[in-house]
Symmetry: C2
Subunit: 450 residues, 2 copies
Amino acid sequence: MAAITASLSGFPEWLPAGRVVENHVLDTLRREFELHGFASIETRAVEPLKELLRKGETSKEVYLLSRLADLGAEGGEGGTDPNRLGLHFDLTVPFARYVVENAGHLHFPFRRYQIQKVWRGERPQDGRFREFTQADIDVVGDGTLAFHHEVEIPLVMAAALTKLGIGEFAIHVNNRKAAQGAYESLGIRDVEGALRAIDKLAKIGPAGVQAELEALGDVNPAAAQAAIELAGITGTEGISAAARAVVEKAGGVVSELMEQGLAELEELLAAASERAPGVVVADLSVARGLDYYTGSVYETFLVGHESLGSICSGGRYDSLASDGKRTYPGVGMSIGVSRLVSRMLSADLASASRQVPSAVLVAVTDEAERAASDAVAVELRKRAIPCEVSPSAAKFGKQIRHADRRGIPFVWFPGTGEVKDIRSGEQVAADPRTWEPPAQDWWPTVVANG
Amino acid sequence: MAAITASLSGFPEWLPAGRVVENHVLDTLRREFELHGFASIETRAVEPLKELLRKGETSKEVYLLSRLADLGAEGGEGGTDPNRLGLHFDLTVPFARYVVENAGHLHFPFRRYQIQKVWRGERPQDGRFREFTQADIDVVGDGTLAFHHEVEIPLVMAAALTKLGIGEFAIHVNNRKAAQGAYESLGIRDVEGALRAIDKLAKIGPAGVQAELEALGDVNPAAAQAAIELAGITGTEGISAAARAVVEKAGGVVSELMEQGLAELEELLAAASERAPGVVVADLSVARGLDYYTGSVYETFLVGHESLGSICSGGRYDSLASDGKRTYPGVGMSIGVSRLVSRMLSADLASASRQVPSAVLVAVTDEAERAASDAVAVELRKRAIPCEVSPSAAKFGKQIRHADRRGIPFVWFPGTGEVKDIRSGEQVAADPRTWEPPAQDWWPTVVANG
């Protein structure tokens, strides 16, 4: 079954069979988030430009809006007027605004999930999606937010990803305090610069990173070397000891901040090894996002599909939002659903048992007898059995082929009161008030091959 | 519980309790559409301007897109370049494109539902929604589409609206062939002009409409009078006879087209009176959309909330889409979900039993004992009981108030292994591996007061 199409570059559309898989993913995530007590919200698709530009780095990717009716009016289309509307490029910026605006109606810590489309005006030649669905969970506090939520969030995502059955995955965690503390312990003052350099390790290699670190100024070769060694620390045990040893070997004195960050990392690893063994690993090379996250930071890789990049990322913000008087710290993670589903389909990690909801096609013996077929369908639907009535009173062979092409497993013959499993050919007498399809045929199912 | 907010005019956002109601509506519609064998699809949010401008009348409401990165580049923001992207303002235009593009992958008649946001750049002072959710069902044929689908579509919507429990509603039906045939029988040549005039009946009254009709030219006073009388015909029986009588009284000869349209209307009424008694009524004043629909046309009114206008409209197109070689006739209806949910909330037609998914708050005796509370939550979730762990090890009274404010009915005490119904105060010993909440408390429910 064909699954995906895109007549406009960057704007993928699923064919019905692909949509069954996408809906399965969305339903599974939603269910798992709700089981963990996250409430659903949606925010409008648009934000004023001034909100969207707060995160400077992504500003180039914003789609701005103009009303067609305003074209040619004075002031043109609005340019970069801060009140001009643009499409949101993530769900964090609008959620932060929603929290500040509605704080009086929310109960903190506020646990929410949000599954929506976002848009990024990427250059079409980059082959990236310009419209895609994200699934976010966040816990937000009013003024304070306990550390245990930094343990909880990746465990909720681990539970959700496990339910998807897409195979083995690993959540890589690091901690801003540990990284910043370590750099400070090594005498590196430009923490953000060091993080940016370390983030390039896979791309430009240790020698390139060493040069970038030394170019920051006041970073001696031993400190740069140690920063690179720190980034090589990964695993579930002995992380703190290894990190301390690297810093001390380079002549550094382990700072209080570094100790605090390492203690948080260890606490997260300990809880995770209990509740989701083998899923969460410390990875001190995770540097992306550490410039705005303030505590734990997470990236998730699908084993065997590392080329996808992180499928689920996030971290802790000490100030997700603020209205000047109150500050709202938060911790959250976001799944890139469209990219994940696209890979699930292209790599055959999942497939749909059929592309239509109907378990039964009710045949029509004669157009004059259509009401009899409608009546059977009404009875079946009363017991939540999805079905449709044949569009024409063609020969039964043709009606059966109609069902077969759609993957509908059963054809009902109202004339003789029989139902046929068109896969096995078995045909039995049946009463529409009592007959049931087998559970696996009731609704379309998604088989995970991961 | 507060339900709705809108810090940007025309862009409503639901608070968590309102979102529970909206999700209930969306889930109910989706379930009912799938029970009737409609497959889910989504289309991208954007279309090239040339696609959006095919329906001339709504062109003023289009939001056009510009990439922020392109601002100031040669050619400005794109003006009315036909390939410039705009946000879709309905789901029919993108669906028609999807059908033509993917016809080779689809099986006809193709039954699909589509629930998505649409955007209209209305003037903010009009107080209309500029972003809202529509829920559409359509059946589309390849070349031909049998009339019985025109009977089926309003019956599916009747089943869906009934499941919402929002109270009594009426689906008003008319037929383009009956209207056009009647006008032709009366010698009125400008059928579209006559339909536009009749559409104003409620607004400008019979005398105003009479004047507009006569102003069309070649419409004599008796014919204009008859057209107004025709628009007064409503009910479930004797429609054809009444319509014929009006035409003949005015000296007209009932045309074949009029007879065909009346026969279709009668067939629809007969099937509907059997399968959804009292829901579908003929209403020959329904004229909106008759300029582009070619057969049955539908509008739906919520009894007692007629001021909302039609909450679910649609009709038959002989050419929903065409690629020049093949033509795809269709019939469908669309529910304006956001406006409906907004009224449900403001008129208290429905309310949520709680604003969070959690049925249970697992208390924390002491921060050092948090793992024991986490373990209880894991056990409950294994049996699909939504729950959350208390964010702090505050005094139990404070933890109970935390649950109470959110509407969480049960608090679990891991220390003593007891669970308390905080509404009744009843507290019993319980095992997290076997305890279940009563069915009505398991998930948030929506009580319909309609």
